[in-house]
Amino acid sequence: MERELKYIDMVEQPISMHPKKFALWLFMVTVVMIFAGLTSAYIVRQSEGNWLDYDLPNIFWLTTAIAVASSLTLHWAYYSAKKDNFVNLRVGMILTVLLGVAFLVGQWYSWVAMVDRQVFFVGNPSGSFLYVFTGLHAAHLISGVIFLIIVLISTFRLKVHSRAMVTMEMATTYWHFLGGLWIYLFMFLLLNH
């Protein structure tokens, strides 16, 4: 079976992108559509009035910084992998995973801050939307962390190097995407509340 799959992979590809990478891009399109749908719903609902105003948790600034930092560390790891610098690669990957977990913890504390403001998941939709945005983003981010951990394990098995970059590239793309998605959501909330 493995041989056959390899065989399929070798069929000449009219465009230069790896099929799996391409599939990842398509998956990211679906994620974009989910959040485009939900943020549009937010705007439509907001325009109808009866909208609760509240201050966004300040911790979002911190988590945004963490998200940016994790993208930087991952990119450092990516370049290290390209140069076959395995020590830096592993350090970079571990840092990214830790920052990813820190981001998730930070998002949890944003919920705590929301509860302190007496804005609950159940109540006026303006608050519920924030929980849905952050929660659904966190769910995707968990998948990203799992992906990173899988790549991290394969770095210890020396399966990521300058000539085997496909999964590393995919992980990097996905992680940058999730960071960008969070920045979009944060900006959206800043501008529309």
Binding site: V11, A23, V122
Partner: protein, 627 residues
């Protein structure tokens, strides 16, 4: 380049030296082969079509024969038949809902796209398999799980979901509303989550495969129109299903966690619910942002199949190949900006209604282009009336008659009268339901020889066609009148309104026709399963068709082509080319071999083609000498 080709050739050799042995489970159940997955989708789709059709017969009995005692159904329906021998009204609502859900999603999305995209994409573009066989397998099994959950919901005590296939809140959001909004609705939502995941995995695979794995020479301008249709269908699904997921997610939160996205100021039995600030119209916007593109997810593959079948059996090139592609692209784009025409009477701003009316009516243009091209392809062709051809022509007929009423309904003023009447039911059953169903059946008749290596019986096919074709018109044509007269859809009975007395006979007629049409499908069912084992052995290219799938062995194994994948040198519609010896020239025949039929611009391409072939031959010789 040369080394890559050489390595490629070596692996090809290895592959076929060792016979590959699958056991029963990897071959028939957890198969990663696109052909088997396509067949799995087909058989599952047929199963669901039978259930969906049977449910419609049940509620047609109630509508056509309101005084009939349904006591004889008690062994099957049990408590849903009350003491007086009548169908339970809430179960009637569940029947309508499940009929819609099953037909739209399980039969005409999974059964149609799932079957033919999986089966035909690798075969027609010249690929060994889908980009990811594993994800493809997962796609089927998610669909299967979704089906199991939906099937279970048919048998629970409170009955399956009953809020209509559009599941508008608050009806679907409040358990107190109707019995079907309890556990049945929960199972509906869970099933749909699996279904969305399945569709997305399938769609990602289809797009990736079409873009990345085409064989040498298979440029986008040489793709069969089937592939174009599957491609655009997958794109639509990829962009619209996530939004349905978002809508369903918020509905789940409203139902199970007490949020108020869609609920506001509701009183149940004099008690105010705590929910405040929600907007039910918001759900309608989100739902129809999927719901309308879904119509084209259902229809486009059928149109693609029809293009291929009509061109092959008219023995003529498809008329307006580029116009066909552009109109499909137009439909794809327009399908995303017309959704609010389902909501003209939801209380939205009438000015917005005018905009959506305008955009909606524009869809008539690409649709008309397609119809025109079908008719001009048929015009003065050497028509071969295979069953597939008849069903394709039937599709064109439904597409016209159902499409015309779409122009009525797209007008926001007329829609005030016609909204949610049987006129709408007649419209979409013709243009979307029957047309897509005919496309699917045409596809089965046409590609059955490739799927199972045997022919379906043509005579039974003709009987099946004429019974179904006349049956569909007998069922749905009278519904236009019933709708104009003001019959609302989804009503259990109209006996309280005296104007309906006039139409009792008509409703009875429709029900009788529906039962006969449903019964006629068993001819197909028999033909399908009988031919699978006992049918006449097919020849390699029974329809004398040009596309790549007919160059594979009779029953292609894993990898589709033994040895090299054939290269493609021309578009797929060289039928009855002047000067050619035969009335078809397969895509694999180089232009240099057909000097007698080449057009002037093709003659110029011959030189280029010869150079490429010479290079390849050198590579081949180099490989041979290494062995």
């Amino acid at each position: 380049m040369a080394t890559a080709s050489a390595a490629h050739h070596d692996t090809a050799h290895d592959h076929h030296d060792h016979e590959h042995h699958d056991n029963f489970i990897t071959k028939y159940i957890f198969s990663q082969d696109h052909k088997m997955i396509g067949k799995q989708f087909l058989v599952t789709g047929i199963f669901w079509a039978l259930i969906g059709g049977f449910l419609s017969v049940l509620f047609r009995l109630q509508l056509g024969f309101p005084d009939l005692s349904l006591e004889f159904l008690r062994p099957l329906l049990g408590g849903w038949i009350d003491e007086a021998g009548k169908l339970d009204p809430t179960f009637y609502l569940a029947l309508v809902t499940m009929h819609g859900t099953i037909m739209v999603f399980f039969v005409l999305t999974a059964g149609l796209s799932g079957t033919f995209s999986n089966f035909l994409i690798p075969l027609q573009i010249g690929a060994r398999d889908m980009a990811s066989g594993f994800m493809n397998m997962l796609s089927y099994w998610f669909f299967f799980i979704s089906g199991v959950i939906m099937f279970i919901s048919l048998f629970i005590k409170t009955g399956p979901a009953g809020g209509g296939w559009v599941i508008y809140p608050p009806l679907s959001a409040l358990e107190q509303a109707i019995p079907g909004s309890g556990l049945g609705m929960t199972l509906w939502l869970v099933a749909m989550v699996f279904f969305i995941a399945s569709s997305l995995m399938g769609g990602i695979n289809y797009i990736t495969t079409i873009i990345n794995l085409r064989t040498k020479g298979m440029s986008f301008s040489r793709l069969p129109l089937t592939i174009w249709a599957f491609f655009l269908t997958a794109v639509i699904g990829l962009l619209s299903f996530p939004v349905l997921f978002g809508a369903a997610l918020l509905l789940v939160f409203d139902r199970s966690f007490g949020t108020s996205f869609y609920l506001s100021d509701i009183y149940v039995a004099g008690e105010a619910l705590p929910n405040t600030g929600g907007s039910p119209v918001l759900f309608q916007h989100l739902f129809w942002f999927l719901g309308h593109p879904e119509v084209y997810i259902v229809l486009l593959p059928a149109l693609g199949i029809t293009s291929e079948v009509i061109a092959t059996n008219s023995r003529k090139p498809i008329f307006g190949y580029k116009a066909m592609i552009i109109s499909m692209l137009g439909i794809t784009i327009l399908s995303f900006i017309v959704w609010a025409h389902h909501m003209f009477v939801s209380g939205m701003n009438p000015f917005l209604g005018s905009i959506f009316m305008f955009l909606t009516l524009i869809i008539a243009v690409p649709s008309a282009v397609k119809v025109f091209n079908y008719l001009t392809t048929l015009w003065r062709g050497n028509l071969v009336f295979t069953p597939a051809m008849l069903f394709s022509i039937g599709l064109v007929s439904f597409f016209i008659s159902g499409g015309l009423t779409g122009i009525f309904l797209g007008n926001s003023a007329i829609d005030i009268q016609l909204h949610d009447t049987y006129f709408v039911v007649a419209h979409f059953h013709l243009v979307m339901g029957s047309a897509s169903f005919f496309g699917m059946v045409a596809g089965v008749y046409h590609w059955f020889p490739k799927m199972f290596g045997r022919m379906m019986d043509a005579k039974l096919g003709y009987v099946h066609f004429w019974l179904t074709f006349t049956g569909v018109y007998l069922v749905f044509f009278p519904m236009h009148y019933i709708g104009i007269a003001g019959f609302p859809r989804r009503y259990y009975s109209w006996t309280n309104f005296s104007f309906t007395d006039l139409y009792t006979d008509l409703n009875m007629f429709v029900s009788a026709a529906a039962i006969i049409t449903f019964a006629a499908q068993f001819i197909f069912l028999f033909n399908f399963f009988y031919s699978m084992f006992r049918g006449r052995k097919a020849t390699l290219n029974p329809w004398r068709s040009n596309t790549l799938e007919w160059t594979t062995p009779l029953e292609p194994g894993h990898g589709n082509w033994p040895g090299e994948i054939p290269a493609v040198y021309r578009w797929p519609y060289d039928y009855s080319k002047p000067g050619a010896a035969e009335d078809f020239i397969p895509q694999t025949v180089p232009l240099s071999q057909t000097p007698e039929s080449n057009l002037p611009h093709e003659q110029e391409m011959v030189k280029l083609e010869l150079e490429i072939m010479k290079e390849e031959a050198e590579v081949l010789v180099a490989n041979e000498s290494k062995h």
